[in-house]
């Protein structure tokens, strides 16, 4: 299976450890990964406000690049990238007139989009494409000592019409994955389908940090050791801004390590933790992991 890989700016610039871990995991599972190196930014939620046309064209270009790489599906580790690409797909895969207009713009650079690409996220890849049997076989280190609070992030599950993968207000894919593939424990907490507040960090920081502390508070009261998230932007918001957020609500007596889903899967399938860049996290999860026998 040949999968195109679009990391997104966040993984390239900030959450470099997720970028690395994803590549290691997917390659260990025997999937050929082609990184789209000249893909560029998807526009996030900000370029959408500035110019929706430009956002759609940039995402159309990324889809064309994935097709060019002769990939079966396009994998991304950022939820917002997934949503923006899916917004482009919802238009270009169905509407031939819009696709012709896109191809007119892209033809200057000798590119063309035929409307066949689909975007997947890491949970989707592991659950649907790799599947239960292969994942069970690959699992070397069960995660049964860790109490994990899975945090999905908004744009991987909403809007539901783009994904149709799971219930958008009560997501469960990562819970199922951790329990069934890796024999781990997950905890239920309030605000599982809530937001990390990433998209207002630059404009209204207080709103964002209050979201962060709400989530951290709820996961801690539900007894979780750590939060696992598939999204690099959620990681930045929850990890990098954690101390600032807890200071703002004057709750600085606890801290919650945030682990990338790719790192967790890597641990479970037997990749040594030294390769996974845990020391790059603001809240270092190594102490927790060592106490749990990793």
């Amino acid at each position: 299976m040949r999968i195109a890989y679009y990391p997104g700016c966040e993984a390239k610039m900030v959450a470099k450890e997720a970028h690395k871990a994803t590549k290691v995991v997917v390659e260990k599972l025997g999937i050929e990964l082609v990184e789209l190196e000249n893909a560029g930014c998807c526009g996030s939620m900000d370029l959408r406000i500035d110019s929706m046309d430009a956002t759609l064209a940039l995402n159309g270009r990324i889809l064309a690049l994935a097709e060019e790489a002769k990939a079966y599906k396009l994998l991304t580790v950022c939820n917002t990238c997934a949503m923006n690409l899916n917004t482009a797909i919802s238009i270009y895969n169905k509407d031939e007139v819009a696709r012709a207009k896109l191809n007119e713009t892209l033809s200057v650079y000798g590119r063309r989009y035929n409307g066949t690409m689909e975007v997947i996220t890491l949970p989707w890849l592991l659950l649907r494409l790799v599947g239960f049997v292969s994942m069970r076989k690959a699992t070397q280190k069960p995660l049964n000592h860790l109490k994990i609070a899975p945090f999905y992030g908004c744009h991987m599950i909403r809007p539901m019409k783009f994904y149709g993968f799971e219930n958008s207000m009560k997501p469960s894919s990562i819970d199922v994955m951790i329990r069934e593939f890796f024999d781990g424990q997950t905890v239920n907490y309030i605000g599982k389908s809530s937001c990390c507040g990433f998209h207002t960090l630059l404009t209204e920081e207080k709103t964002s940090t209050s979201m962060v502390s709400y989530l951290l508070r709820n996961t801690v009261t539900s007894g979780a050791d750590c939060i696992v998230t598939p999204c690099t932007q959620c990681h930045t918001s929850l990890d990098t801004y954690q101390q600032k957020a807890l200071k703002a609500t004057s709750e600085n007596d606890f801290e919650v390590p945030i682990i990338h889903l790719s790192q967790l899967v890597a641990l479970a399938i037997g990749i040594p933790k030294e390769q996974l860049g845990f020391e790059k996290h603001m809240i270092n999860p190594l102490r927790l992991l060592e106490s749990k026998g990793f």
Binding site: C9, K12, M13, V14, A15, K16, E37, N38, A39, G40, C41, G43, S44, M45, D46, L47, R48, I49, D50, S51, M52, D53, A54, A57, L58, R61, T105, V108, Y109, C154, H155, R158, P159, M160, S168, M169, K170, G191, S193, S194, C195, G197, F198, H199, T200, L202, T203, E204, T207, S208, S210, M211, Y214, T240, K244, E279, K280, H281, M282
Partner: protein, 307 residues
């Protein structure tokens, strides 16, 4: 489910005159054909004789007053099918009066305060006015809003800021219904910003819970943000064009470069965090340009020209 099968309902009970804390009571309701959540509530009230407070009126997804939270998800009781095990609670983000009743006064006053009516200053031809489908397209779906308040109850920004700081998606739909109308001549730019629309974190919960299927985020909130940014009514309007400039310069967005561009000298405010991040190897001051940068720049420029 089969006819007569028992449905377990865990009902939220709270009477401010008697109880100090809310509690839950469990009832069993036999499943009936085509049963909705409201059917279970009515059965409990009529057949089981449970005395509890809930609102219902039309029963057909039109009046918007039977909103409740079922298993943690806000929905209209009259419209959603029954689930084998249900926890029924009042809506979040509203003051709870009694049992499933919520106080809608503040919510209704807020919407009324936005003046969701067409404001016409110049004389017009009278009714019926000639107007095309294309002109009405931006507001076409928004007029379906039934003011049930489900989106506001699902919104995390309302949860954190309250209705005073952030008017909530329902109010924005009502405002967008007029602000985006081509016939409207009201001064709405400042109203949009003052109602805190830029505190919206784009989580799309509002879109998901809307019983009328309105894409609240894409049809109401995003166009209004666009309006406020393009007319520079919002103080942080530079952020959005800065992202475009950074993408044009290097293809990717380096947060360091972006913050420097937006805040200028005031980027010093984040210096402590930036140094910490730099120490961890999370931030780099210079970034190698993306190999596809010239192509990306040209695409954005082409799209700008078209605009």
């Amino acid at each position: 489910m089969e006819l007569g099968e028992k449905v377990e309902v865990k009902l939220f009970r709270f009477d401010p005159f008697v109880d100090k804390e809310p509690h839950y009571e469990i009832y069993e309701v036999p499943y009936q054909s085509k049963m909705r959540v409201l059917g279970a509530l009515r059965y409990m009230a009529d057949e089981l004789g449970v005395e509890f407070a809930f609102r219902d009126y039309c029963g057909i997804n039109r009046c918007g007053c039977c909103g409740v939270k079922v298993n943690g998800v806000p929905m209209l009781a009259c419209w959603e099918p029954i689930q084998p095990k249900m926890v029924i609670e009042p809506l979040d983000n509203f003051r709870h009066i009694k049992d499933l009743l919520v106080d809608r006064d503040e919510f209704d006053a807020l919407i009324e305060g936005l003046n969701p009516r067409l404001v016409r200053k110049n004389p017009y031809s009278g009714f019926p006015e000639e107007i095309t489908h294309a002109e009405m397209l931006p507001v076409f779906r928004l007029v379906d809003c039934i003011e049930c308040g489900l989106c506001t109850s699902a919104c995390p920004s309302v949860r954190e800021l309250g209705l005073k700081g952030f008017s909530g998606p329902a109010a924005y739909v009502k405002l967008a219904m007029r602000a985006l109308d081509p016939r409207d001549e009201g001064e709405r730019d400042q109203v949009i910003v003052d109602n805190g629309i830029f505190h919206c974190i784009s989580c799309l919960s509002c879109t998901e819970v809307c019983p009328q299927g309105i894409d609240v985020f894409r049809d109401a909130i995003e166009p209004m943000k666009r309006l406020a940014v393009s007319r520079k009514a919002y103080k942080g309007y530079k952020t959005f064009s800065a992202v475009r400039e950074v993408i044009k310069e290097s293809g990717d967005v380096n947060p360091m470069v972006l913050i420097k561009k937006i805040r200028g000298v005031w980027a010093v405010r984040d210096l402590v965090l930036a140094v910490k991040l730099g120490f961890k190897g999370k931030l780099t001051i210079t970034q190698p340009a993306n190999p596809g940068v010239s192509e990306i720049r040209q695409i954005i420029e082409v799209m700008e020209e078209k605009k």
